[in-house]
C-alpha cells in the first residue's frame, strides 16, 4: 500500500465547498494511488460533481486542500489542466461535428494531434472507427460514451477523471464501458470515476461511498462486506408485498429491503448468530402464513453497506 505522500495521484484533505446554504462537500479527505481505478459511488446530489470540478480546478474549495499529480488545485491549476483528462457529467459532444472532427478538435485544443494520441485511444477508437464520418449526434448512447472517452484521452493525460460516465446508459453499454476502463487501467493510467449505480463498484479497486457531501466509507469493494456488523438474511417468497410486511413486523427487525427477487433482512441489534436469526425468521414467517418462504444467510454487498451507512448517519443526525 502506498502511503500518503509524494507518490499519490490525488491527495485531498478536508475539502469543503458550499453553495449558499447547501453544503455540497463537507470535510472530504481521500487519496488515490497512481495506476488505481478509484470510484465514487453515490446518488445524485451527493457532491460528486462538485468534487470533480475541484479536482479539475474548475471550482475552488472553501476549505481544505487537494493535490492532483503533486500539484495544488488552487495554485497550479494551469499545469494540472494540461495533464488530466476530464469527462463532465451528462457531457455531450458537438452533435453537428463528425466523430473524427470531434476528436481532431479536442486534440488540437490540447495542442496535440489525433495521431499522437492514437496509441492510448486505439482500443476504444477501433470500436468507433467504422463510424468516423458520422455526425456525433447520430451515434447510439454507448458509442457517444466511447467517443467522449476518446476525446478525454486524446492528449494522453496522466489522470482520467470521469463524472458519471454511465448515467442514463443501458446495462450492456455500461459493462462495455467499464471493460474499457479496466483495459486503460491495465496500461497504467490512473482513473477516478463516479457513478450512481452500486453494481459498478465491483469494477473499481477501491470505492468511496458518498452521500450528502460526506464520504461514508472508503474500501475495497470485494471486502466491503466486512464493514457490515450484523448477519444478513435473504428471504424469497412469491408474494413480495406480504413478505415485506411480515418481515417488518418480525420482532427485532432492523432493515428490511427488497433486493432483486429477494428481500434482505437484518436485526436491529448488531452481532447475533446468523443461523439463529435465520431460524427465527423462518418460524415467524410460517406463523404469519407465508409458507413458501426460502430463507438463507448471504454476504452483504455494496448496496447493503451503503444503505446501512445511510441509515446510521440518518440516526446520528436525528
Amino acid at each position: 500500500m502506498t502511503a500518503r505522500g509524494a507518490g499519490a495521484a490525488i491527495e485531498a484533505e478536508g475539502l469543503s465547498r458550499h453553495f449558499g446554504a447547501v453544503k455540497a462537500l463537507d470535510d472530504v479527505s481521500f487519496d488515490v494511488r497512481p495506476g488505481e481505478l478509484f470510484g465514487f459511488i453515490g446518488p445524485d446530489g451527493a457532491g460528486k460533481t462538485t468534487l470533480f470540478r475541484i479536482l479539475t480546478t474548475l471550482q475552488r474549495p472553501d476549505a481544505g486542500s487537494a493535490r492532483v499529480l503533486g500539484l495544488d488545485v488552487v495554485k497550479d491549476f494551469w499545469a494540472i489542466r494540461t495533464r488530466v483528462g476530464y469527462m463532465p457529467g451528462r457531457f455531450s459532444l458537438y452533435a453537428d461535428l463528425s466523430v473524427e472532427e470531434n476528436l481532431r478538435f479536442f486534440a488540437s485544443v490540447f495542442g496535440t494531434t489525433l495521431e499522437q494520441g492514437a496509441k492510448l485511444i486505439a482500443p476504444i477508437y477501433e470500436q468507433i472507427a467504422p463510424f468516423k464520418d458520422r455526425r456525433a449526434g447520430a451515434l447510439s448512447g454507448g458509442m457517444k460514451q466511447k467517443l467522449a472517452l476518446c476525446c478525454a484521452l486524446v492528449h494522453t493525460p496522466e489522470l482520467l477523471l470521469l463524472d458519471e460516465p454511465t448515467t442514463g446508459v443501458d446495462a450492456v453499454s455500461r459493462r462495455e464501458f467499464w471493460d474499457l476502463l479496466e483495459k486503460l487501467r491495465a496500461s497504467g493510467l490512473t482513473i477516478v470515476a463516479s457513478t450512481p449505480y452500486m453494481d459498478e463498484a465491483s469494477r473499481c479497486e477501491r470505492v468511496a461511498l458518498i452521500q450528502r457531501g460526506k464520504i461514508l466509507e472508503i474500501a475495497d469493494p470485494r471486502r466491503i462486506g466486512e464493514r457490515f456488523d450484523r448477519p444478513l438474511i435473504a428471504v424469497r417468497a412469491r408474494e413480495r408485498m406480504r413478505l415485506l410486511e411480515a418481515l417488518r413486523a418480525h420482532p427485532g427487525a432492523g432493515s428490511v429491503f427488497p433486493f432483486g427477487d429477494v428481500v434482505h433482512y437484518t436485526d436491529a441489534r448488531p452481532g447475533g448468530d446468523a443461523r439463529a436469526i435465520a431460524d427465527a425468521v423462518r418460524q415467524d414467517l410460517a406463523a404469519r402464513g407465508i409458507a413458501d418462504a426460502e430463507v438463507e444467510i448471504v454476504s452483504p454487498g455494496i448496496e447493503d453497506v451503503f444503505m446501512a451507512l445511510m441509515q446510521r448517519r440518518g440516526a446520528e443526525a436525528a
Binding site: 446518488p43 447510439s140 453494481d199
Partner: protein
Amino acid sequence: MTSALGERSIEVDGLTRRFGTFTAVDRISFDVAQGEVFGFLGANGAGKTTAIRMLIGLLAPSAGSARVAGYDVATHAEMVKRNIGYMSQRFSLYEDLTVRENITLYGGIYGLSDIAIEKRTTELVDRLDLRDDIDARVKSIPLGWKQKLAFSVAVLHDPRVVFLDEPTGGVDPITRRQFWELIYTTAATGTTVFVTTHYMDEAEYCDRVSIMVDGRIVALGTPAELKEQYEARSIDDVFVRLARAGTAA
C-alpha cells in the same frame, strides 16, 4: 397477478414505426393486465422510447395497433392521454412551482374538482411525509422526494395506466426502494404500471418483463420464467446476453 384479473389495460398487436427506411419498432405484440407491474427493458436505441411514445398517443404507428386504457392510440389519442399518467426521469414537475402548486396544476389539467384536489393534496402530502415542504419550491427538495412526488402527481387522477420512464435514475438506494413500494401500492389499487429502468435489480420487482432488442421484443415473461428459460442467475444476465446477441447480429 397476471391473468387472474383478466381485463387488459394495454393490448399491442404488430405495432410498428418506421422513420424513413429505418424501422425503430418492428411488429411488437404484448398484453398487460389491469393492475400489473410491467417492466419494459431494452438497450439505448432499441426502440423503447419510440414504442412508449406510440403507447401514450404522441406518435402515430406506421402499422399495427395498440389499445391503451381501452382506447385505440391511433384513432383516440386524446382519450388515451386522459386515462393515463406519465412520468419521465427529469421533466415531470415544474421546479419553479411549489409542491402544492404542482399538485393543483396537474389536478386542474386532468379536470379534478377543487374539493377533490384539496383532498388528494392532503392525502398525498401525508403519505410522502411532505407536510413541512408543501409550500417549498420543488427545486429545493431532495431528488428522491421529488421523484416520489412526481409519481404521486402522475397518478393523481387515478389513471388506468401509468407510464414511468426511468423513474429512479440517480436516486439513492433507500429511496429507490421506497419508490418501488409506492409502485406496488398503486398497482394494488388496480392501476397498471408500465416502467422502464436501467437498474436490473428493479426488473426483478416487476410482475412481468419484456426485453427489446433492435426494435423487436425478444423475451417476455415473469422474471422467474426468463431466468429459467435462459438458465441465468439474474435478469441482468438475461438482458446482457440478449442485448449482446442483438448487437452482434
